[in-house]
Point group: C2
């Protein structure tokens, strides 16, 4: 996965577990595109401090995903919802009972 | 929610964020039904220590849910999957296009 996409997803799902200080700097650099020096001046810490904080936060967020699989679960739910939509469209073209049964199976899978 | 159900759900979703020591004692008391004294003897800590640990772990797990809403999301997905299954059954009884459209709407909702 591209690094910025991965960082955005991780932050979307687990950002609430960071401190306000960490969130502010992480957002400044990763989303608001501030340079490390700008973010450092903003937060009143060193450029190296900002660099280390971003690296540490990304690792922390990644560790939450390794343990909780929230992104993985959400991605799987999206995938299954897409599949149901595809089956509904197929059914309109050619109404076969097997397609409805398949939708029910996917629903069961979603509930596991 | 009944306390044991809530503790089980919280542990299922966030248990991985506890330490091995915490997990062992929490499982002993909450799932294996050991008394506080038994769990205390087992872990080599005081009865009061076990009591405090269980209380603290439950609070910690609850705080994760307040921040990440993993249980809430999962419950919502289950609810929507149930609704799709109901719509499929209704459709078999009375095949109306509106039911298929509703299934597609629910899929979109799931992907949000």
């Amino acid at each position: 996965m591209e690094k910025i996409v991965e960082q955005t997803l991780l932050y979307d799902f687990y950002g609430e577990l960071l401190t306000d200080h960490q969130k502010r700097i992480y957002e400044d650099v990763v989303f608001n595109d501030l340079s490390l020096s700008e973010a450092a001046a903003d937060a009143g810490i060193s450029r190296q401090g900002v660099h280390d904080l971003i690296k540490r936060c990304t690792r922390t967020l990644g560790e939450y995903e390794e343990k909780l699989h929230l992104i993985e679960r959400f991605t799987q739910t999206r995938r299954l919802a897409d599949e149901i939509e595809r089956l509904v469209r197929d059914y309109r073209e050619k109404p076969e009972e097997a397609l409805l049964t398949r939708i029910e199976q996917i629903c069961e899978e979603m509930k596991e």
